[in-house]
């Protein structure tokens, strides 16, 4: 099976974790709080 060629193990795991960690930082710092703010603003306009 070509998945089990040990030559590329470190390469793909490094790429995968780099992607996941950068994404986690971006999302938890910038993107998801913005959506939460948006939902709060909508709640404020309609209910309060």
């Amino acid at each position: 099976m070509p998945q089990l060629v040990p030559f590329y193990f470190i390469n793909q795991v490094t790429f995968g974790f780099a992607t996941l960690l950068i994404m986690l930082y971006l999302f938890s710092k910038y993107i998801l709080p913005k959506f939460l703010e948006l939902f709060l603003v909508r709640l404020f306009i309609t209910k309060l």
Partner: protein
């Protein structure tokens, strides 16, 4: 009598280096951009681009993309809130969201013909799931201290059965981390191989003669149905991966 050679269906999973410096630093390490790395970057750009478009220049009114994004957001938030009921559950929402989006977009990019499925690589999925297992163990120890070991002994067992039960629970604890990764990888891999094998057979049937070309349309319709099933499986597997991660975190937060 002509003998036709069937290509190996595993050919689509081969990793090859697109560009890079051929300098082996530590053993197997090599500085190069492989096609799996390219598709990781592609998935990253798709996810971040989709979320940036969905924010609609900070306007309150939603556009088409933000409706999709908000329904995904509420789905995952509901999942996290119902699975991790304890007040600390919200804390893990960005991680589950990132995991779900990466697996989902990776599966969907893999379904594009002549493309490359990043989640079909068992090493990557196993690495992620073992990382989750270790992280869950660390969460359990930091929450409960040495009381975390009571996880391995169900309440109300007689003393004579304790060594056996501890062994069984320990094995099942490790196996649930392993099966999380293997489930995702094996599902995507088996689906891609199935479509490839059936597609190869249909090509041979239809290339034989004009009569067989007409008959071959029937299995072609079947293949389209199977591809639709694969699209459904791509979503279901991402959902299952996220929901099981939630339940593992909940297990170590609450100790059963």
């Amino acid at each position: 009598m002509t003998y036709t050679y069937i290509q190996s269906p595993l050919e689509q999973f081969e990793i090859n280096s697109l560009m890079g410096i051929n300098a082996p630093l530590f053993g197997y390490a090599e500085l190069s951009l492989t096609n799996i790395g390219l598709y990781f970057i592609l998935a990253f750009l798709v996810i971040v681009g989709f979320n940036v478009i969905a924010s609609n220049n900070n306007k309150i009114i939603a556009n088409k993309y933000s409706i999709t994004q908000e329904s995904l957001y509420t789905t995952i938030l509901n999942m996290v809130e119902t699975q991790i009921a304890s007040p600390k559950g919200q804390y893990y929402f960005p991680f589950i969201y990132c995991l779900f989006m990466l697996v989902l977009v990776g599966n969907f990019i893999g379904m594009v013909p002549y493309s490359f499925a990043i989640t079909s690589h068992l090493i990557f999925t196993l690495a992620v799931s073992m990382t989750i297992l270790i992280a869950v163990t660390i969460i359990g120890f930091s929450e409960h201290g040495l009381k975390f070991f009571s996880y391995f002994v169900p309440a109300g067992t007689p003393l004579a059965l304790v060594p056996l039960l501890v062994l069984i629970e320990l094995i099942s604890y490790i196996a649930k981390g392993l099966s999380l990764g293997i489930r995702l990888g094996a599902n995507i891999m088996a689906g891609h191989m199935l479509t490839k094998i059936i597609g190869g057979f249909i090509y041979q049937i239809m290339a034989a003669s004009p009569l067989m070309f007409v008959i071959g349309i029937i299995p072609l319709v079947l293949l389209v149905g199977i591809t639709g099933l694969e699209l459904a499986i791509a979503f279901i597997q991402a959902y299952v991966f996220a929901i099981l991660t939630c339940s593992y975190i909940k297990d170590s937060l609450d100790l059963h």
